[in-house]
Amino acid sequence: MGSNAAENHPISFKYVTMAQQSGGKVISVDPRFTRTSSKSDIYAPLRSGTDIAFLGGMIKYIFDNKLSNEEYVVNYTNGAFIVNKDFSFNDGLFSGFDPLKKSYNKSTWTFDNDENGVPKRDVTLKDPRCVMNILKNHYSRYDLALVSRITGTSEADLLEVYKTYAATGARGKAGTIMYAMGWTQHTVGVQNIRTMSIIQLLLGNMGVAGGGVNALRGESNVQGSTDHALLFHILPGYLKTPSSPIQTLADYNKRFTPESKNPLSGNWWQNYPKYSVSLLKSYFGENATANNEFGYSLLPKTEAGKTYTWLDIFDDMYKGSIKGFFAWGMNPACSGSNAGKVRKAMAKLDWMVNVNLFDNETGSFWKGPGMKPSKIKTEVFMLPAAVSVEKEGSIINSGRWMQWRYAGPKPMGNSRPDGDIIMELGNMLKEAYKKDGGQFPDTILNLKWDYMTDGKFDSHKVAKEINGYFCEDATVNKKDFKKGDLVPNFTFLQADGKTSSGNWLYSGSYTGDGNMAARRGQEDAPNNIGLFPKFAWSWPLNRRIIYNRASVDLKGQPYDEKRWVIKFDGEVKDGKYTTSKWTGDVPDGGWYALQNPDGTERSDGKLAFIMQKEGYAQIFGPGLADGPLPEHYEPLECPVEKNFMSSQRMNPIAPVYGTDADLFATCDPKYPFVCTTYRVSEHWQTGLMTRPQAWLLELQPQVFVEMSEELAKLKGIKNGERVKVSSARGSLECTAVVTKRFKPMKIGDGIVHQVGIPYNFGWRWPVSGKEESANLLTPSTGDPNTRIPETKAFMANISKIKRG
């Protein structure tokens, strides 16, 4: 669900077909019968934007048929926690809703603690306020008939999917999900994924071989660029961006270092100050000292409560408050939702720097369709970047494998590696502030910036800085280190300034033993499940399957003896473990198992989910903005006037922007069809790295709109003719592809048609200028937690083009 791996991640699908050949069942749930669907054992269509209803029905099925793995739920999740008695859910709203602010006061989304401050648990799961009973009650409304009315999926199809998938809860079985933007790009994006996470926890599918909730990354290094915090809300390694009220390092560390009263909780984030101080040491080098809070005051602080996301950038740019803009290796004129608004916003800039391989719709926006160059004052600098094979460095894949790439040819013509451009720009800015001064030059002047060798960017130097160094002689974990030694891994990082690390998660990737990402070892781990621990390197600590302590029982023995991930292999004397040793993958912490072979509890074991404060995976998730349990809401634009589940039609706290370019039309006869966007195998993202290529453009030359035979008949449209597709925000011309892959759906008591458009196109390539971006149609609203735009479900119309 939410992905089409056979088409968009084709090589990953090789492993899906291998699993199928050894007896696994492949299920495809998608509005359209995709190439993935064609290879699946079960295909079920659903209406775009109704995944929570679909999966909520599965949760009900699991409860109704008692298919959850209770041992796993009790030991490894918060399913047995007791929820605050004042927590409630009523007609689509959780307790604490503030209709004026459109936000939740989350003070009732909490757990009852015992006298020591540890959450109370009812391991019998009988307490009506325990998470499992609240969950059961919440999804009791998601019966087959109602789910079918919302999703358009037939009851028989729903039942077949539920039955097949829920069977993976049995011991020794595993089920996994491959999702992508089909789940994230919704006003309920985060909760879509949460719903599946809950199912995986109920079935004991997290941490086991063949389990998990897998995000299929669409870009070769989008995992790495996220890890390294090219996002407003985080610093490298998922540390928090400081905001205005947090004025001191001490306060910053205190706020973000969780404290658990449970001695069995590993609570890994208790190490937060070690990672934040080491990051500051990497930013500011020797200029960061204990006396100046390691330079904490130099970091910019966001305004408390304000968001600075992608959608906010273009909203504020449209309103004129942003003057300068970098679009570095990006093409927002085609990739941004409501691309018409994005393009108009760029015309309000003073200047733009656009770094790319090819001329593109962003850099050349001023001469795009509908633009008058003479009226646009924006200065544009377009810089030619080198292609990946012309430079050296690492990227990290969907499975967190960090892999090193080498330079083949030199950069073509006068193009330069991005690293060179960034370093030189930094040098010039440092020089300018040193020479002429200016507003608060302290941060730029104190920034450590010594990553060049012979005048060129040196990726090895940065990779080592990211790994981390000892900044002075030190003895840590009973080992002696000299100033300048590389840190072996993040368990050696310190909060007193003795170590640096640009990203604690990557500590261990480039050590005294060399560049781990460049390794090519072919042998598998002893469990023989395809981990290849000496090929490349993965964070954290070369662990290949995270949460792997949940793949074993309390005694540390695998639930699945055949496809085990880790097992506790310590020595045993009189029924007790006497030494600690794990084999297989790198365990999620090397502590003892929770129980001895004779079943007695150990005080030195740790709970499975070490990144969670209390050590348990969160079925009930109080951290989210829009509710601790997922609930079905309709997309901002939808074909039904009423949410069949509650009086809240759409996510009550989803952000909606209000400029004159933010137009929306729901249940409007002018836009009667559900529209979604997707990609084709032959093009990548907005197509900027594929549309200028001869072979790939020949394979997929035109933007098209795919529709059912029934809809084509209704509109008198023939396969292959050019048609106009429009939404409240814009329109584009597409080639009609009339197909059996879409079918009209029965939603409620009516018939709903769905159509889809690949978003891989833009006017600059092909040179005909007629193939435009599907994002001209999509709305600029998004998920309230992440503000990912809702580009996967909106309303559109299709009309024939009358040519004079």
């Binding site: 602080k301 003057k323 090819f358």
Partner: protein, 190 residues
């Protein structure tokens, strides 16, 4: 015996150079003779990871001796993820590198202009530095309305990039934050 394809090539090479029929049990000298005529014969071989989706497939890049340009890119048979296979985009990788449509010079578009102008790197980076400084000077906020120190500019924004290497991402975010930017975003948000 577990023979990878590259191992196989090595074995077959030894066979052809020595006795005609040996370890492999059959004669490979015609194959070897053909291989000598391949355009990749004297090329530099480097490994890479595909720059498109997040699967992380390996490929081998052949860079020609004469022109120093890519003459072939193919799947890496010893890569444990893709074992030599590539999708339609990966198989066309050489056309990304060797492409007449590529930008090869910095370009500048002046206010109100309807054309691009070819410019030098030195001029471009110096001008960008001036623009950054001007926007930053005009907008820099030392303290917010509550009097809290914030040291930021809200007049410059950045998007990018998941197309950069890890090491480039790291220095990029460090540079942007050192200027006081708070609007720092990229592909992962969309």
């Amino acid at each position: 015996m577990n023979v990878t394809r590259r191992g196989f090539i090595k074995i077959s090479g030894a066979t052809a150079a020595g006795i005609a029929v040996s370890g492999m049990g059959f004669d490979l000298s015609p194959v070897k003779a053909h291989a000598l005529t391949l355009k990749t014969k004297d090329a530099k071989e480097t490994t890479t990871i595909c720059c498109y989706c997040g699967v992380g497939c390996g490929a081998i890049v052949h860079t020609g001796k004469e022109k120093g340009r890519v003459i072939n890119i193919e799947g890496d048979p010893d890569h444990v993820i893709n074992r030599g296979a590539l999708c339609s985009k990966g198989a066309a990788l050489s056309q990304l590198a060797e492409n007449k449509n590529r930008l090869t010079e910095p370009m500048y578009r002046a206010p109100g202009s309807n054309v691009w102008k070819k410019v030098s790197w030195d001029w471009t980076l110096a001008e960008i530095t001036k623009r950054i400084k001007a926007s930053r000077e005009a907008s820099f906020t030392l303290k917010n309305a509550k009097g809290e120190t914030v040291n930021r500019t809200e007049a410059i924004a950045s998007v990018g990039s998941a197309a950069l290497d890890n090491e480039e991402c790291w220095i990029y975010q460090a540079l942007m934050r050192s200027l006081g930017l708070v609007y720092i975003e990229h592909q992962a948000r969309i």
